[in-house]
Assembly symmetry: C2
């Protein structure tokens, strides 16, 4: 059941915990979904959480709760538990991929200690295998739990085999089909099996041309494949095609979401993922680095303006449009680069060359530039008494829009080619550079026009 | 099969189309996945696409291709086809939700024309039903294709029933269980059915407490539910609990992605979703509106500075730090509001009140403010000869960081409470406001300090 969390619910729960009312606490836990229980964690002390989580009777739910906790919370929570409790209460009841993720957070020593207490040796073996893979690869996402039948079997014998294997698997999704060398040959849906007659051969009804991923493919690439082809599970194979495991849609969705969050976070000027509920220290650590980059940008900008101090002292009005030019360079640059970053992130297919992309960007920038510089020109003509400033602002505005567009398009493409995250281009670094360049252009041009129109 | 698109592949394909080589074209289409074929569309003229798509022998694949096209492309493509071809080649082979989406793009007249040609009256009826729902609701996402059995039946009779219903359904995911009034009672996985013995009663093995959504729930809310509880299909019910349809994970993933793209796009200063491959006109239309807002902000900033023209003429150095102050206000504001926007988007559970949130934000801002204003103070003390400016810059920097943080936190919370998209707070509107406010503070303070230190 979904729980509507209210202040009252939490108060009531805390009272139950304080009174050590086991029956009431375990009834509340029986009612709540694992994802909701994991969310209560933030509201409890570690001792309260320990009491509560160990009272969850459904062991798979308890395991899910642990899997759903934030990494930091989980680490802190587990450090309070003896290894045999971690193994028997949680790891024994987890899918192999979740178990490996949980154990990856522990010190090597504790991990070995916990593994010794895992009852099912197959499960322990699977976890040790999975711990070998980098968490950012298909191998790091996959689970060992899957249903596989031999290509030479009949529907009848395969059904028996599936019944045996499926017991401990939450979602079957597909039945995979291997040859005798464990090389993946294709897959079947349970539905297809249900519709087939018992004496049919698996090899006559399987879907052969299925999409699988290599164990060393990046997690992001695998997730994009699944999204593009609407797949709900991806089989994972080694370099010679042996079936190693599968990745299920819920984990793929999490990867896609993390990827999107990461790009969003970079554009927000945050150097790590944070939530408002994080500690002040963590929030500050996430925010200060990019602000510091912005500070350096601002100090450099001060230096650029300093070069023109003499002109400014003569014509103070030159200062009026400094924010406009700086903001416009930044805005245009972010627009351009975010379009490129989104395109790269969505793997939008395009045979357009970089040269053509920049050419097109130039065209868009010119239209925007003419429109904005034109409006500004007319407005300033009517409201300013300085023709020099009017001309300078519009020329610089146009130039800044063009330059910021090209830089905004080119930099993420360049970063991508250099195998650096192109989303970095949307952060404060490029914005600051655009600001400074824009300022220089503006001050230089207005210096000239004031000289000329004098 | 996945196709690696290269310039060569496209050239070859175009040549085949030009020579009207039906065999070669249909072989290429047989090989390619619907999602890939949909991507080729951008490279072809409408006539080329028409020739190619009508050659796809697998009719469900052809239907998938149409469903995968961008809305604009699809509309243009369909306008070239007679209604009976749209019905027989595409709509007849689509899931009801995709069919409804496709038909929603057509004029009412064409839509009725197409519906007349749909062979299966059940399919036509389902489509007409689905067209009644707003596309942003659960009803707008759901499909009528699902497998449902009676709660009073046995496993044996249910299996027969499922076999009958499942024929035309790609993914069964869950078997839903209704009572005789079509009120949803629970669900079963095919696996559970496979593990049960034939004489067992459905009512003894179903999972009762399943999560369903009301037909009028927002699409976004439904998608977040599915993500939180790791669901692969969501049953949709009406106000008295009758089962109306189901939403499958692929559509839910699309909603989550659109939501994330939308927030990203707002922060980039784009007023609509665009890709680099869109037309120059469309790209300009997406970019110009927010740039125009920035322009107005810049002109207002010019006015604010204009008020201080006299002080600036006396102390030109005051202009040096205009970009720093403006940029810092913008950066801090975007950081603060994006953390709030992400929190709201992820539905992070928090019992913290708005007041406490802002208090915490104040604390983080103070730490950042002291650090950055401190560094700037020391740096300026060593490099500037004006004590007045050194003091003014650091005081203003601190003030701007505090004010921008509070505004950045408060505005998205306010928008959310007013049922307006909080992501608007990350766009140029608030940034410009922060810039202007920051400038005013800086110029006012430096006016004072120059007066005082003189």
């Amino acid at each position: 059941m979904r729980i509507e969390f209210t202040q009252d619910y939490i108060e009531n729960l805390k009272e139950i915990i304080e009174n050590k009312n086991d029956t009431a606490a375990s009834a509340l836990m029986a009612e709540a979904h694992a994802a909701d229980i994991a969310e209560i964690y933030d509201e409890l002390s570690i001792d309260q959480a320990k009491y509560l989580f160990l009272l969850i009777e459904d062991r798979e739910k308890a395991a899910d709760v642990l899997a759903e906790l934030d990494d930091d919370d989980r680490e802190r929570f587990m450090s309070e538990l003896p290894s045999d409790v971690i193994a028997s209460k949680f790891i024994d009841h987890m899918d192999s991929d979740d178990a490996a993720d949980v154990l990856a957070d522990l010190s090597e020593e504790t991990r070995d200690e916990v593994l010794k207490h895992v009852k099912d040796l197959d499960q322990a073996g699977d976890i040790v295998d999975l711990l070998n893979y980098d968490e950012d690869t298909a191998g790091g996402l996959m689970q060992k739990e899957l249903v596989v039948v031999d290509i030479e079997s009949t529907v009848a014998s395969a059904t028996l085999e599936i019944r045996r294997q499926a017991e401990g698997i939450e979602h079957v999704f597909y039945v995979y089909v291997n040859n005798k060398d464990n090389i993946l040959q294709g897959a079947l849906s349970l539905k297809r099996l249900l519709l087939a007659s018992p004496e049919q051969k698996i090899k006559d009804i399987l879907v052969k041309d299925i999409i699988s991923v290599r164990v060393d493919m990046s997690a992001e690439e695998a997730a994009k494949l699944a999204q593009k082809y609407d797949l709900i599970a991806l089989p994972v194979v080694d370099s010679i095609g042996r079936l190693l495991g599968r990745i299920t849609i819920d984990d793929l969705v999490d990867v896609l979401r993390e990827e999107a969050d990461h790009d969003y976070q970079l554009m927000s000027g945050l150097s790590q993922e944070v939530e408002h509920s994080d500690s002040v220290f963590r929030l500050t650590r996430a925010r200060l680095p990019w602000l510091f980059v912005g500070l350096i940008g601002g100090i450099l900008a001060a230096r650029v303006i300093g070069v023109f101090e003499h002109s400014l002292a003569e014509n103070a009005a030159m200062a009026f449009f400094i924010p406009l030019i700086a903001a416009m360079g930044g805005n245009v640059g972010v627009q351009s680069s975010s379009i490129v970053v989104q395109g790269l992130a969505n793997n939008s297919f395009s045979t357009e060359s970089t040269f053509r992309k920049i050419l097109k960007e130039l065209l868009v920038a010119s239209v925007n530039g003419v429109a904005l510089a034109g409006i500004t020109f007319v407005f300033n003509l009517l409201t300013l008494d300085s023709m020099a400033l009017t001309v300078a602002v519009s020329i610089s505005l146009f130039a800044v829009i063009i330059i910021a567009s090209v830089i905004g398009t080119f930099i993420p493409l360049l970063l991508h080619r250099l195998k650096i995250d192109p989303a970095l281009a949307t952060g404060p670094f490029i914005t600051s550079a655009n600001d400074i360049l824009g300022l220089f252009i503006y001050l230089a041009i207005s210096g000239l026009t004031f000289h000329y129109f004098h």
